[in-house]
Symmetry: C2
Subunit: 331 residues, 2 copies
Amino acid sequence: MHTHKSTLEEVAAVAGVSKMTASRALRGAPDVSIKTRDKVLQAAERLNYLGNRLALSLSSQRTDLVAVVVPSMSNIVFPEVLAGISTGLEGSGMQAVFGISDYDVTKERNIIRDMLSWRPSAIIVTGLDQPDETVRMLKNAAIPVIQIMDLDGTPIDFNVGLSHGKAGEEMASALIAAGRKRFGYIGSALDRDLRAAKRKAGFERVLHENHLAFIGQRLGDTLSSVGLGKYLTHQLLSAEPSFDCIYYSNDDMAAGGAFAIIEASRTDDILMAGFNGLELAAALPLRIATSRSPRRMIGEVAARLALGSMAPDAPSVSKITAFVPEITGIV
Amino acid sequence: MHTHKSTLEEVAAVAGVSKMTASRALRGAPDVSIKTRDKVLQAAERLNYLGNRLALSLSSQRTDLVAVVVPSMSNIVFPEVLAGISTGLEGSGMQAVFGISDYDVTKERNIIRDMLSWRPSAIIVTGLDQPDETVRMLKNAAIPVIQIMDLDGTPIDFNVGLSHGKAGEEMASALIAAGRKRFGYIGSALDRDLRAAKRKAGFERVLHENHLAFIGQRLGDTLSSVGLGKYLTHQLLSAEPSFDCIYYSNDDMAAGGAFAIIEASRTDDILMAGFNGLELAAALPLRIATSRSPRRMIGEVAARLALGSMAPDAPSVSKITAFVPEITGIV
DNA sequence: TGTGTTACCGATACCGGTATCGATACCAAG
DNA sequence: CTTGGTATCGATACCGGTATCGGTAACACA
């Protein structure tokens, strides 16, 4: 068993051909005789030859790497996006490299700089609200930049996602149309989760248009979680008893809200609304309203854009892919 | 604004020094005069020099990449592991590359082969049950292999995780000690999720020792989810009404079970037990039992091993890091 | 037999960095 | 003035592949 990494040169030596011929044979190039090809393949097999993508990429000036930056892994949303990206990249020979920014723009900048030094073929970043310096760096990279999740802002290049402002608006409209009037809001870390803030702002715009407003709200400062949603809901309900609807920053928080209601065994009719359309939300013993965000799909589309935009015969694809979240759970 | 990627050579030219001196200056090597260093740094700044990790790695024969293979991203467990890895790698200059195997050994092998061709400095894979061919490939890579999550089996090199067999045993012991006697089981895809299967086997061992057995079970064949847990629980309860405890393959399924109980508004005392200690489980309006698995910590330790084991002065670290999950939720 | 063509293969020059060794200049000591 | 040491820098050879071009042999055809 060979435990050191064998090189193309060694494979060539064993096969009794030149490095160049071995390279061609392994890549399935046309001008190699069947006999030679087999010799090389056998040699490679025998030496457990793996190839060296570093050398390949450096030499051929293309990297087969797609950089991905997401803000968090602590709820299921971004993992699902990553799964979508992984699916979209499958079979293409591309590899995803990822980084987590923890909703921190400085960290995000550092991660992006790091990523770019790997010379990826494309980079997928979350949101449109990068500071100027980061934007400059991304533009400078001269590779396709794909900003995902959010549409509210000015994209650098490609943009796949949905308008969170509009999602908030439409949820508010739907809830008002369903007869709700006394609204509360529960969210957290809106200074960092800008998309949640945009949803809230959109929601409030519609409230104002209808001469309504949140009559009570609770804001946490840690990242959203089921427990936090439950805790804040308990707080809000014990302080101000007369809501008929609570809008949450997302489904995790809303699920916590549902748990609070169940625990308190309240029988008054409060409709809770979240965002994302998590699998969890649909299974709750209490119906909650939510906007279904196509997370996997966004990842898949982003991956296809990453692949497609560098194909030589790249058809002129749309720079912006907009999804409209479907609202469910309002009777 | 320079939009093409600038090279070290160009930086050197602008600074009026040789490539080598520029390289030294940028890396902060000692034998460069302050004046020269500043000239080079300014030139790099002006050209937006980024560096090229491919060339660096190829030249220096080390890659600063850590490959990570996980089976799934569809529940929060593995994302949390990844977050832990990301945290553990932070500041080290290492980058994580990841792949999702979808609980498919063939896919896993292909992903690992792909990863290895990037010549990572270490590789982190999930579980101990890789087929021989994959094991051979991993051994052959001559880099630290870190197998995570599971301890029940023969590790290739490093091993960080917990014994799922024992976790099942201890949960069973605790439940029996708490007076439970009539057990049901609900799980899914046990042919692929081998760790869940090991927990079930451990649980059953203790049941048998106590002259007990599952008196009813339901197995799904899709991946576990809250909805599936709820569905199977409804099924099980309507068919066989007399359980006092149901063991689930994990917390997602158990949460679904809790929802089923709440929906059916059953007042009989059925204790549901899961595995993982998810944040969700603690927030449920119904107390469920669970074993807390240190997912983030496993990721962090794995990352530290990846870093530590290649340090030149690597202290002889333990090859196996065993965690013992804490059981909560049993009154 | 001479001449193209085609099929196959190898030599060489890169890709963008780093390791290594040697060169130069400058200064202090003898 | 010579010698030696130190600080600073550059030339060169890699790392492991691929692109490119040129060479050789075999075959078809005139």
